[in-house]
Symmetry: C2
């Protein structure tokens, strides 16, 4: 079993300032991981990500398994060599993707049979196979294969999800420990468990206790931001996080909007990921300190302001809304690049400011000030 | 009339090493202008272009007139402020585009009536209007509205094109001189003439003498690389260039492949533009010192070499063919960005090497050596 990878440096109420050490580098937390599903953050280069200050990105086992294929990645020296991102990478297990292919996947206790969304070919994922795939990919942090139930899920389905998630987590951990102790892989690829349970507190308690008992290198809360209300999400998060040990990283999967991140940090979450900054950027929306901006709108066509007047990123220092709106209007790739860069920087800058505020024991005040300016833009 | 903008610094046989001075900066020649039709080089940022060493880019009056519209560009301070490219820009007149819209354009001696390829709306371009549009856009170098005939063109059509090109050049020049002398615009936006005449040497002679007599700030050769053979192109270029004055820039429009550029430099051409490096990059082809590389091909899927082993651009220093091929295969924007960056750098680097070779009076030798390595890749 690997040594503890997390150091809690200081706390400001429940908000945590820590760091995670991996063989590809140190991650300052709370951290936001830009999503690089297919081994690239869409529209950005590694240089862009470094400039924005990202210290870890998130790949997806399902996608990388189908293309380019795990053998190719492994033969080229692993993911960090393949995509030239020399800092840490976390891979999601692909469970979420496989389950979202409802019509072309079939689940059993053994695993999931699914068809590729590329060519319809058949594939079978088991918890053991997903651990092996991620070890071969060479991710610094790997997620167990879990069962994420849709929202809303009746209690029977949610209970089934928790049972299977625990069963699979046990199998994943046993297989991982076995592979490491037999020296087939180095123990520098850390495995995280995932807590499920939908919006049922008793199930969340049960799942958290089960997952924590397996002593993973970190613990994630899955199955949130899948359709429930913001209040429900906060309620379940606040409940679940009590059961997660303080000495390990706590990762809230697939979240979220800036206001969600601030809320979750206030409860002690350390890691986040979300497609929002880059996906929205490609469809004409960016995040700014004054709230979301629909930069594609015609009222920006003569606006020489930067996307965010309070941002010091290289896009905001040089380009106007009018120009980026024009590029969007012309379907120019460059527009997607500039908008994606800004929003990625905005998220990384938010995390930098969060970390600094925690260090200076003024996180609550920072959260209030940020939201007061941010929500003006929402009105 | 503006002062002379061109300085011929030295010659190596007929190859010329010079510079063009504009109010937005100096251009070292021979120069290659990346094509920024809609005010951006596709998939690249201004920072990328600066890193590659581009000193001038090429916009298109037809496209910018339709979108975002000349009023928007002008009200935002002109093209250089609008697109944040602070070095020189040349705008093509849009003649080539308007004539290529055969089915939705109608030509008369007065001008061309055409429909927008965006929305079918009707527009009318005259030589005078095109000068005004380009002055409003604020391009450093503006091209007259000419008539480029298709290939092959019978002699009657080619003669008609030469006549109209001369007529329109006279009207353009008169209107330009009038606008400048009435102080409606500053005389820092230079107007270039264009020689036509298809593949008929007598018509090329006539057109060159007519255009040169109008004393533009520079002279371009248009109507080549429109379907004629490489031999015909070289033959017509070699013939036409004799009539162009040595004290002004000579621009070969829309060309071309690396071997074409080398050939044309050997006859004394100073300026080039072409969509090839960026367009090919987006469709899975890049230029390398060892010839064109179809990087999208499956045989690159496990190749950890850079796109060009002899290139020191930031893409070749970091990313492998296998990775960029994977990105292409996944339709990832990042793949287009990386490939476009490399090929743009490759062209700028070729021009740097050409300029250095001329300075060191070894251009012919450089051309031979370059082609010997480049053509190995073609075999």
């Amino acid at each position: 079993m690997p040594d503890n990878i997390y150091t809690l440096k200081l706390q400001d109420q429940k908000a945590r300032r820590g760091e995670i050490i991996t063989s590809n580098g140190i991650i300052q937390t709370p951290a936001f991981m830009p999503v690089a599903t297919t081994a690239t953050v869409k529209a950005l280069t590694c240089e862009d990500l470094e400039e924005c200050g990202a210290e870890i990105i998130l790949g997806n086992t399902y996608h990388l398994y189908l293309r380019p294929g795990v053998d190719i990645i492994r033969s080229l020296g692993g993911l960090a060599k393949f995509n030239a991102w020399h800092k840490p990478t976390l891979t999601d297990s692909g469970g979420y993707q496989v389950f979202s292919l409802k019509d072309i996947s079939k689940i059993s206790d053994e695993g999931v049979n699914f068809q590729s969304h590329y060519d319809g070919s058949y594939h079978f994922f088991t918890p053991e196979k997903v651990v092996e795939l991620q070890l071969a990919i060479g991710a610094d942090i790997m997620m167990v294969f879990d069962q994420c139930v849709p929202y809303p899920a009746d209690k029977k389905l949610a209970t089934e999800g928790v049972r299977r998630t625990y069963d699979w987590a046990q199998r994943s951990k046993a297989h991982y420990d076995n592979l490491i102790s037999s020296h087939k892989f180095k123990n520098t690829n850390y495995l995280f468990g995932i807590v499920q349970g939908s919006v049922y507190k008793d199930l969340r308690t049960q799942s958290a206790e089960q997952i924590v008992s397996l002593d993973f290198s970190g613990n994630a809360i899955g199955g949130l931001s899948v359709g429930e209300s913001k209040n429900e999400m906060e309620d379940i998060l606040a409940h679940t996080i009590q059961f997660l040990p303080e000495g390990k990283p706590r990762y809230l999967m697939g979240i979220g909007y800036p206001e969600d991140i601030l809320m979750a940090v206030s409860y002690g979450i350390d890691m986040f990921d979300c497609v929002l900054p880059t996906r929205n950027a490609r469809t004409g929306n960016v995040f700014t300190s004054e709230g979301p901006l629909v930069y594609r709108n015609a009222d920006n066509s003569m606006d020489d302001q930067p996307l965010d007047p309070n941002c010091d990123c290289k896009v905001c220092r040089r380009y106007s809304r009018a120009y980026i709106r024009h590029l969007y209007n012309q379907s120019e790739i460059t527009g997607m690049v500039l908008a994606s860069y800004h929003s990625t920087y905005f998220y990384q800058n938010l995390m930098r400011n969060i970390r600094k505020a925690i260090e200076e024991k003024r996180f609550e005040q920072f959260q209030k000030e940020f939201l007061s300016q941010y929500r003006k833009g929402l009105e």
